[in-house]
């Protein structure tokens, strides 16, 4: 696997970032935020410094370069023919070179197309470099884009002749257009104190989302072909649902997040009692965190407090199209280290959210993790991960 994140680039640095509860959120530096109503973001970092990217560059391309550089030495892919390999990934809205376009003659004729980088195009070169002749699929389901990609990868390997899939995702909304577009939706945190504490999952004083950026990729293989020594985790079950509620808000009852979870657990051939912890979506918004709490009660009944939960977003923010992928990397951390991490910036419990959220890491036997994600627009995913023995 490979990782580019606000708490580190490279798997080792990322895992250390979780170990040490490293903060990845700060005031944005990659573009001028003077006079912006909010200025918090979680920029991708390497060796404690924000990754240098030109202000008119599509940051996703740079992150993909770093992530695929970490992934490419793996000999696993070379054991499969190009036709047996696919790429199924998630990303977000197209990037647009606003400044360059605004100052160009093309702006006078509304001829904007060559200034746009679509989310399919950024993967063409990547797929070619890995010789994935089995096909390339890009999912753009907002906050569940990469988790739907991972889920489809799992199903593809189960049901088809394909033997290996590069899956995961990449996204960055840290540019003026997309950042302020999200602000206009009323979703961004306006936390005024220490900027590092701007995203506060499940906290009584949570103020909303902090946008993050990065990438995470995994080589997913059919079980019978995967080398026992190289396995990081196993996907045991997957499901996706839609709330059919409001486009702006999640269903407060958490009905369909819960349904996705129950179906994924059934797909894994286990029961909710087998789940050892839940890595939540946990955005730090009033409504999403409450909805997830409601969902937990449906999934686990009166045992919901027996299952510790975690949200990575207090550290890395919300990576939108890549959040499922980066949070899957955190699931692998938990499975490998047998630790449920502390949820950074969870300080004061919300009396209406009585989940078991940790302020210090918990070492426990973890065999199964349930990963939840939920998108703007109502799409939900649930993936069950199993520790490899």
């Amino acid at each position: 696997m490979s990782v580019v994140s606000p708490i580190g680039t490279g798997v080792d640095e990322f895992f250390t970032g979780i170990d040490t509860s490293r903060y990845g959120i700060d005031n944005i530096r990659c573009f001028n935020t003077e006079n912006y109503p909010v200025t918090l973001g979680a920029e991708a970092r390497k060796d404690d410094s924000v990754l240098a990217v030109g202000s008119e560059e599509d940051r996703r391309i740079i992150f993909n370069r770093h992530a695929f550089d970490e992934l490419s030495p793996s000999p696993r892919l070379r054991s499969y023919t190009p036709e047996e390999r696919m790429m199924i990934v998630g990303s977000g809205v197209d990037f647009f070179r606003l400044r360059e376009y605004s100052e160009s003659a093309h702006a006078k004729t509304n001829d904007w197309h060559s200034y746009s980088h679509n989310s399919c195009g950024i993967y063409k070169e990547c797929a070619a470099s890995f010789d994935c002749k089995g096909g390339t699929i890009v999912n753009v389901a907002a906050c569940v884009a990469s988790s739907q990609a991972i889920g489809l990868s799992y199903r593809t390997l189960k049901e088809s002749g394909k033997k290996a899939v590069i899956t995961g995702g990449c996204d960055s909304m840290l540019n003026p257009m997309h950042y302020m577009g999200f602000y206009k939706l009323g979703a961004l945190s306006d936390w005024k104190e220490d900027p590092r504490q701007g995203c506060r999952p499940f906290d009584r004083d949570r103020r909303g989302v902090v946008l993050g950026e990065g990438a995470a990729y995994f080589i997913l293989e059919k079980e019978e072909y995967a080398s026992p020594n190289d396995r990081l985790a196993e996907i045991a079950g997957y499901s996706s649902t839609v709330d059919a509620y409001l486009v702006t808000d999640p269903d407060p009852e958490g009905t369909y997040i819960a349904r996705a979870a129950v179906e994924a657990i059934r797909d894994a051939g286990i029961t909710p009692d087998d789940i050892d912890c839940v890595h939540t979506h946990g955005t730090g918004t009033v409504k999403n965190d409450s909805a997830e709490c409601s969902a937990m009660k449906i999934i686990f009944g009166n045992k919901y407090r027996d299952v510790p939960v975690f949200s990575l977003k207090g550290q890395v923010g919300h990576l939108i199209g890549a959040c499922g992928a980066i949070e899957t990397a955190a699931v692998i951390y938990s499975l490998q280290k047998q630790i449920v991490p502390a949820t950074v910036n969870f300080e004061n419990p919300d009396p209406l959210i009585d989940l078991t959220i940790l302020k210090t890491p918990l070492k426990k036997k973890i065999r199964y993790i349930l990963k939840l994600n939920a998108a703007f627009g109502g799409q939900n995913t649930a993936i069950v991960f199993r520790r490899c023995d």
Binding site: E103, S116, N118, T136, R155, K184, S240, T241, A244, G378
Partner: protein, 197 residues
């Protein structure tokens, strides 16, 4: 297989209101979303399905047409010397853009609004462009029942194309795809052309 297909000329009215229980949500729609909701409505009239168990997979076309106000953002963000000004972008460029316009940018809105309008809650995917995404999603769906696949695209000239189909897993193999990486909406165009031939 049961299918629906439409192509709308630039500026042509898309009569989607008839399928909206709450007509107020139309303010969030771009042309592609309107076409997708209309096509799904017609498909449901031809062959109603259980929205709680039927998967829906949708592929949006590569973005060619924008209607979220880019021209206004740009003209209001340029200073007197013709240079982009971050300050003007905030104070003028974006301040005149309605928050509703953000819903015209997000790629998953067609599927989201289909779900809201018709009550679909089951397995789903919002894919970008390529036919292979729809084909693989349908073939690997965790059901032996029929599946709904759809695709739409807004073209540079303002025209909109959209198609939906209710298919079985066996029928997926015979869908008219020439290149798996081609835009998914072309498949629905070919289905419609074959039906009228």
């Amino acid at each position: 297989m049961i299918s629906v297909y439409h192509r709308f000329s630039p500026g042509e009215t898309i009569p989607v209101e008839q399928y909206l229980k709450n007509r107020k949500i139309k303010k969030y729609f771009n042309g592609e979303t309107s076409a997708a909701v209309l096509c799904m409505g017609e498909l449901m009239e031809k062959n109603p399905v259980n929205p709680h168990t039927t998967p829906v997979y949708y592929a949006t076309g590569i973005l060619e047409y924008e209607d979220y106000g880019l021209a206004g953002i740009v003209s209001n963000s340029i200073d007197g010397t013709g240079h982009y000004s971050p300050l003007l972008f905030i104070s003028r460029g974006l301040s005149n853009v309605s928050p509703l316009n953000q819903f015209k940018i997000l790629h998953n809105m067609p599927l989201s609004f289909i779900s809201i309008a018709f009550g679909f809650t089951s397995d789903n995917s919002s894919l970008y462009s390529s036919a292979i995404g729809l084909l693989v999603s349908a073939k690997t769906a965790a059901t032996e029942e029929r599946i709904i696949i759809g695709s739409g695209k807004g073209y540079r000239d303002g025209s909109i194309e959209c198609g939906f189909a209710l298919v079985s897993k066996d029928e997926v193999d015979s869908l008219p795809v020439e290149d798996p990486q081609e835009e998914a909406v072309l498949m629905f165009r070919r289905i419609a052309e074959k039906a009228t031939a």
